[in-house]
């Protein structure tokens, strides 16, 4: 951008011609020009930001709105449906609940979308004509409609048209679906206890897996990880629950409402459905592309080793495909987390809805949005960190 064009030397009167090249004047010095240019841009940005900040200060003063973060300690004066939050609790508690709701729908959504997306992505390459084309129609249909339309459709046209409580759709006491949500059996202990139990089972399963892999490496006998780990995990969970006194309650219809078990709110249910079906269509395309990017010889070699179709996929093709797929899939996870903000439209109280509601209840807008932006950035960062770690661990050691 700042390269000077060479100009032909002007012959000047003999005595003044110097043999040594004259020092470049500063207005032609590339480094000086580059830094001047950058400093000017920086200065402009700072001036614009300063003007905006000043406007915020003056406008807030004129309207008597505080600019600090004291609003976090004020009472919320609103409640969240199906949540114990009282309207006297401070705004910060509501924002924490909103963040938890964003996480609830994002984490479950990410898991389900991955499962559905991988299945459909493999389906797109199936030898079965019906499966292949069904997967294609799914992907082409879902990818090309606005997610918001899907969210609104799932809420207004599906969830809200479900039957009322007294004629719920029922599968015994396992699943009760009605316009108040979907109820499933659920352990009745506290959350801390449940997480502890799960962690205990996971540690037990992990240790057994390591032990079996070690045995397999030393002796050469098959590791049979699944056959060993499953009963161990189930046993730990069962006896842990019995010893800690955790039972399972089933949902039951009790007059105008459903008691027992756990009820997924209709808004949660609709948002989850829309996010999963939409994101799955994008993940399916990534999975398909990644499988096709694995050299064909790999699949053929696996076939030549007499592996069955499932084994070829499970042990040879998919592990290599996932190495290619992880960065774009990580992007989809980030998108899903950010798209959970569409819950705003159907009044699912996730972060965006909570923040905009507290602003409606006299919290100052600008600091509240700063908090919101910060939380989303931190959530994005966490997902990126997890996915980067996964990426590094799956990466081929450089050869």
């Amino acid at each position: 951008m700042t390269t000077t064009t060479p100009t032909p030397e002007q012959p000047t009167s003999g005595s003044e011609r110097s043999t040594a090249p004259a020092a470049v004047p500063f207005w032609r010095n590339v480094r000086v020009l580059a830094w001047t240019f950058q400093l000017v841009v920086l200065g402009l940005v700072i001036v614009v930001l300063a003007i905006l900040f000043n406007n915020v200060r003056i406008n807030s003063q004129n309207q008597g709105i505080p600019t600090g973060f004291d609003f976090l300690d004020q009472p919320t004066s609103f409640t969240i449906p199906a949540n114990d939050l009282r309207d006297t609790q401070p705004v910060r508690d509501a924002i924490v609940e909103g963040t938890l709701n964003t996480l609830r729908v994002s984490v479950v959504g990410i898991i389900l979308a991955t499962v559905v997306g991988v299945l459909i992505g493999i389906g797109r390459l199936s030898g079965n004509w019906l499966v292949r084309n069904l997967a294609r129609v799914y992907v082409e249909a879902l990818r090309n409609i606005p997610l918001l339309g899907l969210v609104v459709f799932a809420y207004l046209a599906i969830v809200l048209t479900l039957p009322r409580v007294d004629d719920s759709i029922q599968a015994g006491n396992l699943l009760i679906i009605n316009t108040r949500g979907a109820s499933i059996p659920w352990p009745d202990g506290t959350n801390l206890l449940l997480v502890g139990l799960l962690a205990l089972a996971a540690i037990a399963g992990w240790s057994v897996r390591r032990w079996r892999l070690g045995v397999s490496e030393r002796t050469g006998e098959p590791s049979r990880v699944v056959a060993w780990v499953t009963p161990v995990v189930l046993l730990v969970l069962f006896w842990g629950a019995v010893l800690a006194g955790v039972g399972i309650t089933s949902p039951m219809i009790d007059g105008p409402r459903v008691t027992g078990g756990m009820t997924l709110q209709p808004e949660y249910f609709a948002l989850l459905m829309a996010l999963v079906t939409y994101t799955a269509s994008h993940i399916a395309e990534i999975v398909r592309g990644s499988i096709q990017a694995v050299p064909r010889g790999q699949g053929e070699a696996a076939k030549a080793m007499a592996l069955t179709g499932v084994q070829q996929m499970r042990h040879v093709v998919l592990p290599q495909a996932f190495r290619i797929a992880i960065p774009p899939i990580a992007n989809q996870y980030l998108n899903l987390m950010k798209n959970s903000s569409l819950g705003f439209v159907i009044s699912y109280f996730e972060l965006t809805k909570v923040v905009s509601t507290t602003i409606g209840n006299r919290s100052p807008a600008i600091p509240a949005y700063l908090v919101l932006i910060l939380i989303y950035l931190v959530l994005s960062l966490i997902i990126s960190l997890i996915m980067n770690t996964a990426n590094r661990r799956l990466e081929l050691p450089s050869r």
Partner: protein, 401 residues
């Protein structure tokens, strides 16, 4: 005949026992779903709500005696589009490296176009059938005739005046905006018109901004790099709907009330700033794909840094990422629905929701019909664009050359 059908079934649906089971199970579920869907489309669905509200869905609260403005814009767009396509075809025909495919009959061309654009064509036909009046038919026929005639004229124009046609596009866009602004003012726009206008304007504006951001992020100037990176990561980390709400609820704090723009301008600004960050990341990928030898060759030829960027790096970088860019523009088109939800426009989606609350339809539970129609319109637009981008990708030979 029967034998070949049997062979096809055996090869594609019943290769072995598992396959046969899968086919039967999936097939019966599919048949049931198809039955329910067709029943909804033709038997239980009540489509009067769409038919009655078609003007509302397409143009919002546009007054009917101002409709000529929209009609004029459509015909003018057909004229300029036809001319530009004609000139482009002429250029391609006279390019030195063209592959001669021989002359094509008009019928063949029409079939090719239909094959390429069928989702959009089918949706327009559906709209015309639903409209049940003659005026829309006349408009479509007129637009098609004008486009074909302009295309023929474009092919016969001397190449020297090609730049005039190129100039006509930006001038035409400005003129169209001015004309459309005349009737109700653009803060009152609604329906599909609003979605299309927001998308078109934001796409045009976000592209140069995104390219500048990408160049900034790849620049050797540390301050520019820092500023671009912070901007891109900030906008990519926050959901669009939160930004739209911010512009709606809090813009008044940043700028004096006297110059605060209306909501359409706010929506355009937010959509532009947001998409520019994504465009920048895509273009950055393209910049990284240009081999360093290209830049070195430019330097060896004594080009300035600006000329190297403009004439060597950017053309190759952008060609490599056209499919991704089109994908981003499709998302932008779909994301215009968020502007409706966050800022209270009566865009296509919200017009459909609102129509179920009209006196004639309240309590009838027609939301499914209205939303299916909306989703179909968005789907047809996005799917046509994505197919065209795949075609362009093949023609440009991305990854092949």
């Amino acid at each position: 005949m029967l034998g070949s059908i049997g062979a096809w079934l055996r090869a594609n649906l019943f290769r072995n026992r598992t396959d046969a089971v899968v086919t039967v199970v999936v097939g019966s579920i599919l048949l049931y779903a198809l039955y329910r869907f067709l029943r909804f489309l033709f038997v239980t669905g009540r489509w009067e709500i769409v038919r009655v509200n078609l003007p509302l869905y397409l143009t919002g609260a546009w007054p009917s005696d101002e409709l000529w403005r929209i009609t004029t814009v459509i015909v003018a767009a057909a004229l300029v589009g036809g001319l530009a396509a004609g000139v482009a075809a002429r250029r391609a025909a006279e390019a030195p490296d063209r592959v001669d495919t021989g002359p094509r009959s008009p019928g063949r061309v029409a079939l090719d176009l239909l094959d390429r654009l069928w989702p959009a064509v089918a949706t327009v036909l559906l709209l015309l059938i639903l409209a049940r009046t003659a005026a829309p038919w006349l408009l479509v026929v007129a637009a098609v005739v004008v486009a074909i005639a302009a295309n023929q004229v474009g092919r016969r124009l001397p190449l020297r005046v090609g730049w005039l046609v190129n100039l006509a596009i930006p001038v035409g866009v400005v003129a169209a905006l001015w004309l459309l602004n005349g009737g109700v003012g653009w803060n009152e726009w609604g329906g599909l018109l609003l979605n299309l206008a927001l998308a078109a304007i934001a796409i045009t504006l976000c592209f140069p901004f995104g390219v500048l951001l990408a160049l900034g992020r790849r620049s050797t100037f540390p301050i520019l790099r820092l500023l671009s990176t912070v901007y891109i990561e900030l906008f990519r980390g926050v959901p669009l709907i939160a930004l739209l709400l911010l512009a709606n609820q809090a813009l008044g704090f940043f700028i004096p009330q006297s110059i605060a723009p209306g909501r359409t301008v706010r929506a355009i600004v937010v959509l532009t700033l947001f998409t520019a960050a994504y465009v920048a990341e895509i273009v950055r990928g393209g910049l990284q794909s240009v081999p360093p030898g290209q830049i070195e060759a430019g330097k060896a030829n004594g080009l300035t840094a600006l000329a190297i960027t403009r004439r060597i790096v950017l053309p190759q970088a952008i060609r490599n990422v056209i499919p991704a860019l089109v994908g981003q523009f499709i998302s932008l088109f779909k994301d215009t629905t968020l502007a409706g939800a966050a800022m209270g426009f009566l865009d296509l989606l919200r017009a459909a929701e609102a129509s179920t609350q009209q006196d004639a339809f309240r309590g009838d539970g027609l939301i499914a019909e209205a939303l299916v129609f909306v989703l179909l319109v968005f789907w047809a637009g996005s799917y046509t664009m994505s197919r065209e981008s795949q075609r362009l990708e093949k023609r440009l030979g991305v990854g092949v050359r």
